[in-house]
């Protein structure tokens, strides 16, 4: 599969500050790529360089084979963008907005169909300043699709939305993928990335600290699978000398890390042999969010290097 986006040692400096400090990644065409990072990590700067809105200080960037800065006009005909906190002309309705974008791009979108696709058809004739936050984001998404883009850049498209509106946008992202559109998704919601993304990159302090599929990142950086018991802390004291496995207590729950699957039977036997009361048990795995929090924390305290530095 060809790459829709190639980023190679990208640097963006603002005076002495390097907002992006040598980032490299690539996005296969037709995939959903999620770009994650805490506030101020360099996500938006990187995204805006890819969109042709900011000039890179150094490094190489190619989007659909184009230089986003010098070939911005051509690029903008082939991409769709929904920015953070989408704003538009306040007195214009969604139907008029889609018609307007259609005229600018020289396409003939069917406004009602497009608004139906983003579940905004019922507000087609309402003015922008009367729409809710979620409805405004949906309109932003509809406008990003007006020119039938090959890549959609979605910058935190679901921030501040209620669960129903969020799921509606997820559906659109899935349908874009099934139509072969590449989606570059920036989000604060880790479960959203885990659910939708084929590839994920985590950026912090302007550097990539982890990349791959969500499961690859979790297995590379997550803790081992654990057995969790609803039980008194005395159970932990009983298990530690007998199992030789890490045992922790938190929030009235005892967790035992498994180094291999067969450890589970050993743990259950020991718990039964302890004679101590316990209510329930479950297996626990790290989520992408757990990994994200841990990696960001490790980089902040200096125990983790970026992928580039590690390489």
């Amino acid at each position: 599969m060809a790459d829709a986006i190639v980023v190679d040692h990208l640097v963006k400096r603002y005076g002495p500050l390097a907002a992006v400090a040598g980032v490299s990644f690539h996005v296969p065409a037709g995939s959903v790529f999620s770009f994650l990072g805490p506030n101020g990590a360099g996500k938006t700067t990187t995204t805006e360089i890819l969109e042709g809105l900011r000039r890179a200080t150094d490094g190489h960037v190619s989007v659909l084979g184009l230089d986003p800065w010098t070939e911005a006009a051509e690029l903008h005909r082939r991409i769709g963008v929904i920015p953070q906190d989408f704003r538009f002309f306040e007195k214009i309705t969604p139907r008029e907005a889609v018609e307007y974008y259609g005229s600018l791009f020289g396409t003939q979108p069917r406004p009602d169909e497009l608004l139906e696709r983003v579940q905004l058809a019922d507000k087609a004739a309402s003015r922008f300043d009367t729409l809710s936050g979620g409805q405004k984001q949906k309109l932003g998404l509809a406008l990003a699709l007006t020119n039938r883009p090959e890549i959609c850049f979605l910058d935190e498209p679901t921030t501040g939305l209620d669960p129903t509106a969020r799921r509606a946008i997820w559906d659109v992202i899935r349908s874009l993928k099934s139509d072969g559109v590449t989606v570059f998704l920036t989000t604060h919601y880790l479960e959203e990335a885990e659910l939708l993304a084929d590839q994920v990159a985590i950026i912090h302090h302007g550097r990539i600290i982890a990349s791959g599929t969500p499961s690859e990142i979790i297995s590379a950086h997550g803790r081992p699978e654990r057995l969790r018991f609803q039980a008194p802390p005395a159970l932990a004291d009983y298990l530690r000398p007998r199992l030789g496995l890490p045992v922790t207590v938190a929030d009235g729950r005892v967790e035992v890390e498994l180094s291999q699957k067969s450890d589970a039977l050993r743990v259950l036997s020991a718990v039964e042999a302890s004679g101590l009361p316990w209510q329930t048990f479950s297996t626990v795995q790290d989520t992408l969010e757990d990994v994200f929090v841990r990696l960001v924390g490790q980089m902040d305290d200096g125990t983790l290097k970026s992928e580039e530095a590690a390489a």
Binding site: E48, E51, G52, L53, R54, R55, A72, A73, H76, R77, I79, V81, P83, D85, F86, R87, F88, F89, E90, K91, I92, E96, E99, Y100, Y101, S103, L104, F105, G106, R127
Partner: protein, 366 residues
């Protein structure tokens, strides 16, 4: 530039404006309110002849009587002969309701007959430059006619006396071009300064930069909107002035260039001011600094000729002065050559400012 994209953007601008009650009020009702307000305040000015108190120290002479009669016949002034002490005449005038005066000197007729210089004195009121100017003009005109007759000169440049009365313009006649100029200045300036700053802050320029719409197309569509709005506003003002106050103005095609280049200049200037400002607050400040001096010193409410010399010189560097002066030339004096000169100045300025606005108005991080 693609006309289709300009039309599409113009549609959005028009809809946004027409759906904004505050903008509509200031565009359509405010001009009528302005005309009505200023027309009512100054409705008496210029409608009737200016009373001039005449001290005729040569009152038995036929020539002085003839001079005053000719002055009275101009319709611009109403001669009232008074009897008072010549040495106290100035202070007497100062206490009078009509403080403009004329002194015909003793020996006026004798000197005139002997072809010797004789000087009449006009006392003007510095607080009423308009009436004083009317009297000075009328006295000068009659004196010229007498000089010509005395020299047996042939009249080269004649005067159509049938229209003498209409040459005395009332305040409302001057007010209409002034207020059209006011509207040409304020509507686009305030609006574009605000738009430039707020669209940048809200990310709307960023959003538009991701479409094929160019900055020149965007600016052109806004210019077209404000040009159309100016035509409507000018029509409303002229209509209100004529209907409410019986204004006498010529509405000819000569007015059209000013209704085009004026908005082009101030749309571009507003955009330029908004583009160089870092925040909406500083944009508003820059807009006010540019707009307010022009609003009052370009002949909008009062004629520039009534200003002190220093302010007159300052007014001549203000672009709105040339817009208003040009419209005065077209609507009042039918002086097309002077109007052409004015429109040329504004046009050159507008092109320069338009190009500068496009240069400095960026919608992505350079």
């Amino acid at each position: 530039m693609r006309p289709g994209r300009i039309v599409a953007d113009l549609k959005v601008v028009t809809r946004s404006y027409l759906r904004n009650p505050v903008a509509l009020f200031f565009s359509l009702l405010f001009p009528i309110i302005l005309i009505a307000l200023f027309g009512l305040i100054f409705s008496g000015v210029g409608n009737s002849p200016v009373t001039v108190q005449v001290l005729n120290l040569d009152d038995n002479s036929h020539v002085s009587q003839e001079f005053l009669s000719a002055l009275n016949n101009t319709s611009a002034v109403k001669v009232v002969v008074v009897s008072t002490n010549a040495s106290d005449f100035a202070s007497w005038l100062g206490q009078n309701d009509d403080p403009v005066g004329l002194v015909v000197p003793d020996g006026f007729a004798a000197n005139y007959s002997a072809r010797e210089t004789t000087v009449v004195t006009v006392y003007t009121d510095p607080e009423d430059a308009q009436d004083s100017g009317v009297v000075l003009g009328a006295v000068q005109g009659v004196a010229n006619a007498f000089n010509l007759r005395a020299a047996n000169g042939t009249e080269i440049v004649g005067l159509d006396e049938k229209n003498v009365g209409s040459q005395v313009f009332s305040y409302i006649d001057y007010l209409i071009p002034g207020l059209i100029g006011f509207s040409i200045l304020t509507s686009p300036m305030f609006s574009m300064v605000d738009v430039a700053a707020s669209y940048r802050k809200d990310g709307i320029f960023r959003q538009l930069s991701l479409t094929p719409l160019t900055r020149a197309e965007w600016l052109t569509s806004h210019f077209l909107w404000y040009m159309g709005l100016t035509f409507v506003t000018a029509g409303i003002m002229i209509g209100a002035g004529v209907v409410l106050f019986g204004a006498h103005v010529n509405v000819t095609v000569g007015l059209i260039p000013f209704l085009i280049v004026g908005p082009l200049f101030f749309v571009s200037l507003g955009m330029l001011a908004g583009s160089v400002a870092k925040t909406p607050e500083s944009a508003a400040l820059i807009g006010n600094i540019i707009t307010f001096p022009m609003m009052f010193l370009s002949g909008t409410f009062f004629q520039v000729s009534a200003f002190p010399a220093a302010l007159q010189s300052f007014a001549h560097i203000l672009p709105l002065y040339y817009v208003i002066d040009g419209m005065n030339q077209v609507m009042l004096f039918s002086n097309t050559s002077r109007a052409f000169y004015d429109v040329l100045i504004v046009l050159v300025g507008a092109i320069v400012i338009f190009l500068l606005a496009i240069r400095f108005f960026t919608w992505r991080d350079e």
